[in-house]
Amino acid sequence: MTDSKYFTTTKKGEIFELKAELNSDKKEKKKEAVKKVIASMTVGKDVSALFPDVVNCMQTDNLELKKLVYLYLMNYAKSQPDMAIMAVNTFVKDCEDPNPLIRALAVRTMGCIRVDKITEYLCEPLRKCLKDEDPYVRKTAAVCVAKLHDINAQLVEDQGFLDTLKDLISDSNPMVVANAVAALSEIAESHPNSNLLDLNPQTINKLLTALNECTEWGQIFILDCLANYTPRDDRESQSICERVTPRLSHANSAVVLSAVKVLMKFMEMLPKDLDYYGTLLKKLAPPLVTLLSAEPELQYVALRNINLIVQRRPEILKHEMKVFFVKYNDPIYVKLEKLDIMIRLASQANIAQVLAELKEYATEVDVDFVRKAVRAIGRCAIKVEQSAERCVSTLLDLIQTKVNYVVQEAIVVIKDIFRKYPNKYESVIATLCENLDSLDEPEARAAMIWIVGEYAERIDNADELLESFLEGFHDESTQVQLQLLTAIVKLFLKKPTETQELVQQVLSLATQDSDNPDLRDRGYIYWRLLSTDPVAAKEVVLAEKPLISEETDLIEPTLLEELICHIGTLASVYHKPPSAFVEGSRGVQHKRLPGSAGSGESVESPDTGSAAGVSEAPPAVIPSQGDLLEDLLNLDLTPPTTTGPPPPASSGMQMGAMDLLGGGLDSLLGGDLGGGPAMGTGFGAPPAAMPASFNVPVSGGLDDLFDLGGGVGMPMGVFNPPKTVWLPAMKAKGLEISGTFVRRAGVIQMEMTLTNKAMSVMTDFAIQFNRNSFGLAPAGPLQVLTPLSPNQSIEAALPLSTVGPVMKMEPLNNLQVAVKNNIDVFYFSCQYPISMLFAEDGKMERQVFLATWKDIPNDNESQFQIKDCHLNSDAASNKLQGSNIFTIAKRTVEGQDMLYQSMKLTNGIWVLAELRVQAGNPNYTISLKCRAPEVSQCVFQNYEMVLKN
């Protein structure tokens, strides 16, 4: 006699039979029939046609029958709303039943009937139940409010149920408190800005009291709610931590993880020198380790969270490496997560053990796992410098196994090792080349091609190797094609004599035969570069690459902070903020860790930038492996930008463009090559398809480049003063800064060379200006992302805005600068040419000019002599226009050229000038008229500087 008999009816008139049984007079038969209905319902059969018959069975004293009917009602009320109203009276009656079990059951079921028409009838019984004398009924009613809110939020608010719910937080019964918190949290999720859970020290205290006494599930709700509270000071924070720590010993892993979340968050507020801080750190390790001995599903969630925790506070688990060693029968998703954490915990102290394990894993059966293990060996080499040699030899051992995917994976990571430690391990290239033929995955092929191109001068048959790849060029993936293009151009620049044909071949393949815009564009860029200025091409393509940093996949710090606040939730499993994936994302609030109190860290000054400012600049987050291969120009020239949009004219692109222009046409090949002219035409005449591609806006940078190349756009010969030393190393503990100012496309930039002449590494650069005459201020943080090692120089371009605070300086164009690094703060002052401030729209209408000239009183006019200038008036006019000094009219009177010029400062001041040039006389006379005569001196100096250079 088991329930399976209910599943067996397969006769045709099943529903009809059931209907008859439901209406039977015999109680027993009725109950059997309801059971059959329920059984059909559970397997997804549609038995909604029996609705009225089942509801008729509701008025019974038999508790089981009642429950069964309730079950049915909950499932089908939605599809039969009119019928469901029939059930209302029974609910109202049941809510008054003397038996609290029935009252609770009724209020529970009521909320599950998701029919709008019914809900209004249910408000009164619910109100009564919320104030019921029996806590069992109250706690059930609390949940019912959340259910009702889901169906009809407005109704719940109008009826004042939310206030009643808030009152329940102070209930004497811990279970009621827990359920009220749970219900409020759920409701709050759909009202992110409402102050439903108004947490203050009193409510916190009540929650902490209830925490000790309620069920495990209640504890989870309360802990999650506590985590949203921000304590007033470190003492409150500590006292909450003390009361939460016992939860770390709970048998329910969800309670443990929620407690970990509260502690991780509140710990931020504790001063690090406090004894309790250390104690807390020690207490966190054992429960996390224990989670790893649970079932694999729990382990997985725990590992994802531990991954976050070790990034935030590596000290907690630094001695627990061994628990992350992989057992061969762990499910794959656990294995992969464990590997990730092993690498994060790898340090000089444990690297030998870790490597031995990784080598063991690399011989396992599971391909995904083996690949990741090989990759992990590479990451260890990059992370722990002392181990690099051992890692490389381990990788070579693995390559010897000739297992195809192991070899490919090893080559990909060796490429990264080369980039981290240049000129150290290149001796292994020969071994790598032996395996060239076995590579069939794009990533491995691309890596190998990169290596061949990068070290072309050391590989005798580099051209043959690359040529062999070129044969099937169109069948390769984009990644490989791009890499091949770059590698061959590199090869050409290194060994120009032997490889012209090859490079021409690849350029035409890339530009003419390919449909891929990226490939085509890159091809054209190389083509242009090589044809216009091979020297510049060499500088660009073979530029020194920044070293890659150890942490290739660190989570960005602000995101990490947010995720730490979401420990234990789905967000922590996906490592994404909830706003990125929660359904509908009803304006989920971004949580942040509370600031630390009383710790000695410097406070960001508001000027230096946004929250993720410069002084806490993250270790350069380099793009992931794939990107590394794919971008060439970006990678080689521009520093990765982490905050804000890059300045409109990114320095890398711009520099390339300028060089293209300035460098003229002297060819790298010069006379060395017999075939010079032929080559020249080969490069000089791009295919006919090319102009068409100009119209396709690829990116600002590219357009600029092409525009310039075509000789349109910016005028020739913009004068920029050379860099001068602003801050000598003597005065700045080894930091030397030289720099200059340039104005490009309307953007003022301060270009600096920072040189480290000290013995130690410099990091954390930031810059700030004193108030100055024209309100110059940095428009973004100083982009010095990689640490500056001794004897290294780095170029930094700082875009400036003119909206900063203003104070008149003496001289007018004086600028006082403060630069900070990890060592100290240094001050210097420099003078900028006032032409930096001349706007592009400074050309006045002739009529306006005349009127203005007359309008400005003669007192404001000042005259200067410019001596020893040998330009004629047209040349001078051209030159000045480069600095945004516009010639409006020219008059020749008695052999003397009179140039009338205008310029506009960024703060709106117009300056009018009359420049007199007499043929044969090297001395010019200039008259300046301006409403603010103070600037005249500066403007004059600028004329002198521009004209004489």
Binding site: S253, A254, L298, E583
Partner: protein, 418 residues
């Protein structure tokens, strides 16, 4: 909170669904089936699967997938723990948790699920409370019910649900009052080729079977409580007392429960009870491989090592194994390549061994991977960490109960690399 639950069997049929909020179409499980197809082994299905509108969180127990559907941001561990609780409850009620048992008791299953969760919030998950609400089916009761027409559903309000000790029902009565505790320790270890321990740790639990009348208050003290620095307690244990005096003080639930679980970490020295000498080799160009295993006791404090079972996943290239055990029996499954050797008890005077040859596919190259050897064993009357109970006292009741403590050591994930 938890929206719906689907139970899916090994062949991919949904054989039960339960919705606590609005009905979620069972087509949502298609995403689960996709993931299942991608996974090579049944246990490799990822526990959290995103779909466009829902998240599927699943556990695999007794070859049944329990798939919970959630819609909003919910702690996944909360869901997984709850699913475990469902499995435990089914096992508790029906003795086994199989598809057949669940189908046989579908009405009870439905009633249980309804009691365990309300609108996605856990309601009654303690087996004591559930048993008061819904009586577990027994043959006798089923018969009585059919004859008298009475039901499984309790008529009383479950009293425990509101008391300060929700885990214990009131009015418990026994004629024989007894309290038994089992200290069970499992060793998880990885031993490398040369026989040295890479990592070893002990997972211990104290399971109790307490059948005591009334409201007894127990204390349990240890000879060496220092060993227990990483513990998880049943909610009945008074944490303050443990912090202060290192004594377990608690009002026990009625019946079987896990009092405490603990973890002796790899930083303490863990005794390894057996050693294994192995020589598994393949020669290049030969279609034969040698297999040679010998087991011996190591640190067992003089206790016998019993129920030893050695298993190993041999490389895919192995066609068959022709072995000769000095004791016990061995089997080799040529399909899964799983070798298992049921050794039984280890006699220190005559060490058990398994020797012979393996045949490989002709012409195939030598396998790359080295098989890992898995060992299961039992040692009675000993907890390998050295944990010992000092005394057990009862307060609050007058009678004198029977008390008993049993120790046992088992191998958990005990793996030897070759």
């Amino acid at each position: 909170m938890i929206h719906s639950l689907f139970l899916i069997n090994a062949s991919g049929d949904i054989f039960l669904e339960k919705h606590w909020k609005s009905v979620v179409s069972r087509s949502v499980c298609d995403y689960f089936f996709e993931a299942q197809e991608r996974a090579t082994e049944p246990e490799n299905v990822p526990p959290v699967i995103p779909t466009p509108h829902h998240y599927l969180i699943s556990v695999l127990r007794h070859r049944i997938y329990f798939v919970a559907v959630i819609q909003s941001e919910v702690p996944p561990l909360f869901v997984i723990e709850f699913l475990h609780r469902v499995v435990d409850t089914f096992q508790d009620y029906f003795g086994v948790c199989t598809e057949a048992a669940i189908k046989d008791n579908v009405v009870v299953v439905y009633e249980l699920l309804e009691e365990m969760l309300d609108n996605g919030f856990p309601l009654a998950t303690e087996s004591n409370i559930l048993k008061e609400l819904i009586k577990p089916p027994t043959i006798l009761r089923t018969m009585v019910n059919t004859i008298t027409g009475s039901t499984n559903v309790g008529e009383q309000l479950p009293t425990g649900q509101l008391s300060v000790v929700p885990w214990r029902r009131t009015g418990v009565k026994y004629t024989n009052n007894e309290a038994y505790f089992d200290v069970v320790e499992e060793i998880d270890a990885i031993i490398d080729k040369s026989g040295s321990t890479i990592t070893a740790e002990i997972q211990g639990v104290i399971d109790a079977c307490v059948k005591l009348t009334g409201m007894p208050d127990l204390t349990l003290s240890f000879m060496n409580p220092r060993l227990l620095d990483d513990v998880s307690f049943h909610p009945c244990v008074r944490f303050k007392r443990w912090e202060a005096e290192r004594i377990l003080s608690f009002i026990p639930p009625d019946g079987n429960f896990r009092l405490l679980s603990y973890h002796v970490s790899s930083q303490n020295l863990v005794a390894i009870p057996v050693y294994i000498k192995h020589n598994i080799t393949f020669r290049e160009g030969s279609s034969q491989g040698r297999f040679d295993l010998t087991l011996g006791p190591k640190q067992t404090m003089g206790k016998a090592v019993e129920s030893v079972l050695v298993s190993s996943q041999l490389p895919r290239g192995v066609l068959n194994a022709n072995l000769n055990p000095s004791q016990g029996t061995y089997t080799f499954d040529p399909v899964t390549k799983m070798l298992s050797w049921d050794v039984g008890k280890i006699n220190p005077q005559k060490l058990p061994s398994l020797k012979g040859t393996m045949s490989l596919q002709a012409g195939a190259s030598k396998p790359d991977e080295n098989p890992t050897i898995n060992i299961q064993l039992k040692i009675q009357q000993m907890a390998i960490s050295g944990l010992k109970v000092n005394r057990l006292d009862m307060y609050g009741e007058k009678y004198k109960p029977f008390k008993g403590i049993k120790y046992m050591t088992k191998a958990g994930k005990f793996q030897v690399r070759t």
